[in-house]
C-alpha cells in the first residue's frame, strides 16, 4: 500500500467516527431546540386561550380539537389540584396526511370565571423524527463522501507535492549501485525533515562510495605494485639460470621457483583484470562476430588440444554478432574453451555450438556435476589442476554480468555445458 493511501485509510475511519458522533450531537441539540421553540409557542397559546375563554364563556364547551388547536374538558377540583403543566408527545389524526402524525401537546389546568376547573389541551404539529433522521443520514453520508473525495484529491495533489523530495530520494536509492561511478546528490527542499533525510543518506552513501573506491584502488595499486618485484625476481632468476656453473638439479630448483612466480604473476594479472572489469574500464565497443572469434580461438588452442588428444567440434546453426568490447569477448570465450580443454580426459571432446543469440561450450569429463552455486566464485577450485588460479569462471561471470548476459551451467551424462545467452 502506498504511503498516500495508507494515511487515507486511517483518515477514512477517523472521519467516519467524527462525523457519526457529530451527527448524533447535532441531532440531539437540534431536536432540543425544536422542542424548546414549540413549547414556547404552546405556552403563549395557553395564555391567549385562557384570556379568550374569560371573555367568551361558550368556548368552555369546545371539547374537540377540530379546526383549531385546542380542546377543553371539565375536571373535578380534587383532580385539578394535583395537575401541573405537562408537555408531551402525542399523535393526532391529520386530514391531509390521512394518518396519525406526531404532535406536541401541552396539558394544563385553569379555573374559569364560573369557579370550575377545566383541563386545556393545546397541540402543535411536530417535526417528523423519522423523516428528520433520514434527511440527516443522507446529508451525513454525502458529507462523508465529499470529505473523503476532497481528502483523496488533497492527498494526491498537495501531499504528493509535499512528499516529492521523499519519492525522489527513494527513486535515486532504488537505482543507486555501488561502484557505478556516479555520485549521490540529493535535491534541496523546504522541508527540514527531508533535508535531514537527504543529508544523512547522502553522507552515508558518500562514506560507502569512498570506502568502496579506496578498496578498489587498493586492489589495483597492490596488483600494480606487485608487478615490479615480480619482474625483478623472475628476471634475476632467468639471468641466474644462464650461469654455466649451475648443475641440472639446481637449474630445476630455480625453474620451479620461476614457475611459482609466474603463477603469482598470472594471479595478479587476473585480479587486475577483474578489478578493471568491475571498474568498467572497457569502454570501447565494437561489433564482434563470435563465429569468427570462436574459430580463431579454436585454432589458437589447436596445439594444446592436439597434445591432449581432444577433438574440438564447432557447430554453427546461427551467426552470432553482438556489440561489446573485443578484448572482453575474447577473454570470456578463451576462458571457457581453455577450461573445456584442460578439465577433460585424453580422447575426450569439446563441442562449441554457436546460435544467433547464444554460445554453449560442452566438454566431456570424468568429474561429476560441479557445484552450481559456487563455480563462479572467486578462488573456487574443483579440480586439483596445479596451474589453475580458480578465477577463470569468475572472470567469465563478471564479463557476462557487465553486459547483462546470462550464463548457465548444466551437467548431463558426464558432459559439462556452459551456455551464454546474450
Amino acid at each position: 500500500m502506498k504511503l498516500l493511501n495508507y494515511t487515507l485509510s486511517y483518515l477514512s475511519i477517523a472521519l467516519l467516527v467524527v462525523v457519526g458522533v457529530w451527527a448524533v450531537i447535532f441531532y440531539v441539540n437540534m431536536l432540543d431546540e425544536i422542542y424548546d421553540s414549540i413549547d414556547d409557542g404552546l405556552e403563549n397559546s395557553k395564555i391567549l386561550i385562557i384570556r379568550k375563554v374569560e371573555s367568551d364563556t361558550t368556548l368552555i364547551h369546545k371539547t374537540e380539537f377540530m379546526e383549531s388547536n385546542y380542546a377543553i374538558h371539565e375536571i373535578t377540583d380534587n383532580h385539578a389540584l394535583h395537575v401541573r403543566d405537562i408537555y408531551m408527545d402525542s399523535t393526532l389524526y391529520m386530514q391531509n396526511e390521512k394518518d396519525f402524525e406526531p404532535v406536541r401537546m401541552l396539558k394544563t389546568v385553569f379555573r374559569a370565571s364560573n369557579g370550575k376547573y377545566y383541563e386545556l389541551q393545546i397541540v402543535s404539529s411536530m417535526v417528523e423524527e423519522d423523516d428528520l433522521i433520514e434527511d440527516l443520514f443522507y446529508a451525513i453520508v454525502w458529507l462523508y463522501i465529499v470529505l473523503l473525495a476532497s481528502a483523496l484529491i488533497i492527498n494526491n495533489v498537495l501531499l504528493r507535492r509535499v512528499w516529492k523530495p521523499f519519492y525522489t530520494i527513494l527513486d535515486k536509492l532504488k537505482n543507486f549501485r555501488l561502484g557505478s561511478n556516479e555520485n549521490f546528490a540529493a535535491e534541496k527542499t523546504n522541508v527540514s525533515e527531508f533535508n535531514i533525510l537527504n543529508e544523512t543518506v547522502s553522507s552515508l552513501l558518500q562514506r560507502n562510495i569512498a570506502i568502496f573506491n579506496s578498496q578498489k584502488q587498493f586492489i589495483e595499486n597492490a596488483s600494480h605494485e606487485l608487478q615490479t618485484p615480480l619482474a625483478i625476481s623472475i628476471n634475476k632468476l632467468e639471468l641466474l639460470t644462464e650461469k654455466n656453473s649451475l648443475s641440472g638439479d639446481q637449474l630445476k630448483e630455480i625453474s620451479t621457483v620461476i614457475e611459482s612466480l609466474e603463477r603469482l604473476t598470472r594471479l595478479n594479472k587476473t585480479l587486475l583484470l577483474l578489478s578493471r572489469i568491475e571498474n568498467r574500464q572497457f569502454p570501447q565497443e565494437t561489433s564482434v562476430n563470435f563465429n569468427d572469434l570462436v574459430l580463431r580461438l579454436v585454432s589458437a588452442f589447436g596445439d594444446l588440444s592436439e597434445f591432449k588428444s581432444i577433438t574440438i567440434q564447432v557447430e554453427q546453426p546461427g551467426t552470432c554478432i553482438y556489440t561489446l568490447n573485443a578484448e572482453l569477448a575474447e577473454i570470456m570465450l578463451s576462458n571457457l574453451i581453455k577450461n573445456a580443454i584442460l578439465h577433460n580426459y585424453p580422447e575426450g571432446s569439446v563441442t562449441i555450438t554457436i546460435h544467433a543469440s547464444g554460445i554453449s561450450v560442452t566438454n566431456t569429463s570424468h568429474t561429476g556435476a560441479l557445484d552450481e552455486t559456487h563455480i563462479f566464485d572467486r578462488f573456487y577450485k574443483n579440480s586439483s589442476a596445479k596451474n589453475s588460479t580458480g578465477l577463470g569462471l569468475s572472470i567469465v561471470k563478471s564479463i557476462v554480468d557487465y553486459y547483462g548476459y546470462t550464463i548457465r551451467y548444466t551437467y548431463t551424462n558426464q558432459h559439462h555445458t556452459f551456455a551464454i545467452s546474450f
Binding site: H224, T228, N235, K236, E238, E242, Q284, L304, F307, T389
Partner: protein, 225 residues
C-alpha cells in the same frame, strides 16, 4: 648498438642492463625523468627502453620530447600498467612496441632486436648463422642456400631462438611468445615439445649447423657452434 634503459627500479634496471650486455649491446641507463631527458637530448641511441611511471615525470613526456627533437630512436615502453589506453597513447606518440611488466628477458631481447632490425637494416632482414640464413620478413629459411619449408609456429620458434641464441630460454617464455596470452594457464607447456621436435628434425635432416638443446625442466637453448 647503443641501448638506453630508463627505469627507476634499481634492481630491475640492473637486471635488464646485464641481460642486454650479454647480447653485446652498449647499455646506458637513467633512473629518473631528468636523467632520462638529459640522456635522450644529448646522445643518440638505437633503442630506448622506457618506463612510464618515473620519479619526476611521466615517461610519455620523454616520448613527446623525442618527437619534438625529431629523433628517430626506437622506443619500447615497459610498463607495470598493462592498460590498453597506455599502449595506444604510447604507440600514438611514436613508441615502437609495448611490453607489460613482468616480462621474460628472452622476450625483451627478441623485441629489442626486432625493433632495431626493423629500422636500421632498411628492410634487409636477413640473419646468417653458420650455414643457416633466415629472411625474417619473408619468413624463409635457407640451409646451405637450400630453402627449407617450416610451419608458421616452427618459424616463430626458430626466430625466437635465434634472437636469444646461446641463451637459456624458459619454456613459459617461449609458450607465451608463440601461443600468446591464452595459453598461460595450460599445464606444464608440455605441448610445445612436439613443435620443437619437428623443428629439430628439420634442422637435422637439412644439415643445419644449429642445435636446439633441451635443458630438462627449464627450457631450451639454441647452440651455435
Amino acid at each position: 648498438m647503443k641501448v638506453l634503459v630508463i627505469e627507476d627500479e634499481d634492481e630491475l634496471r640492473n637486471v635488464i642492463v646485464s641481460s642486454l650486455e650479454k647480447e653485446n649491446f652498449l647499455v646506458e641507463s637513467a633512473a629518473d625523468y631528468t636523467a632520462a631527458l638529459d640522456k635522450v637530448t644529448g646522445y643518440q641511441y638505437d633503442c630506448i627502453l622506457l618506463d612510464i611511471m618515473l620519479p619526476g615525470g611521466n615517461g610519455l613526456s620523454v616520448l613527446n620530447a623525442l618527437k619534438k627533437m625529431k629523433k628517430q630512436e626506437n622506443v619500447i615502453i615497459i610498463s607495470a600498467k598493462n592498460s590498453v589506453d597506455d599502449k595506444v597513447n604510447g604507440l600514438n606518440l611514436g613508441a615502437d612496441d609495448y611490453l607489460a611488466k613482468p616480462f621474460h628477458l628472452s622476450e625483451l631481447t627478441a623485441r629489442v632486436k626486432s625493433v632495431i632490425r626493423r629500422k636500421s637494416m632498411n628492410g634487409q632482414n636477413v640473419i646468417e648463422l653458420n650455414n643457416v640464413k633466415i629472411h625474417v620478413d619473408d619468413r624463409l629459411l635457407y640451409v646451405n642456400s637450400e630453402p627449407v619449408s617450416l610451419h608458421r609456429k616452427e618459424f616463430d620458434i626458430l626466430a625466437y631462438f635465434i634472437a636469444n641464441k646461446n641463451r637459456l630460454i624458459n619454456k613459459a617464455a617461449l609458450a607465451e611468445h608463440i601461443w600468446g596470452d591464452h595459453i598461460d594457464q595450460a599445464d606444464d607447456f608440455e605441448f610445445i615439445y612436439s613443435q620443437i621436435k619437428n623443428l629439430r628434425k628439420k634442422l637435422k635432416d637439412t644439415g643445419a649447423q644449429l642445435e636446439i638443446q633441451a635443458v630438462y625442466g627449464v627450457g631450451y637453448k639454441l647452440i651455435v657452434p
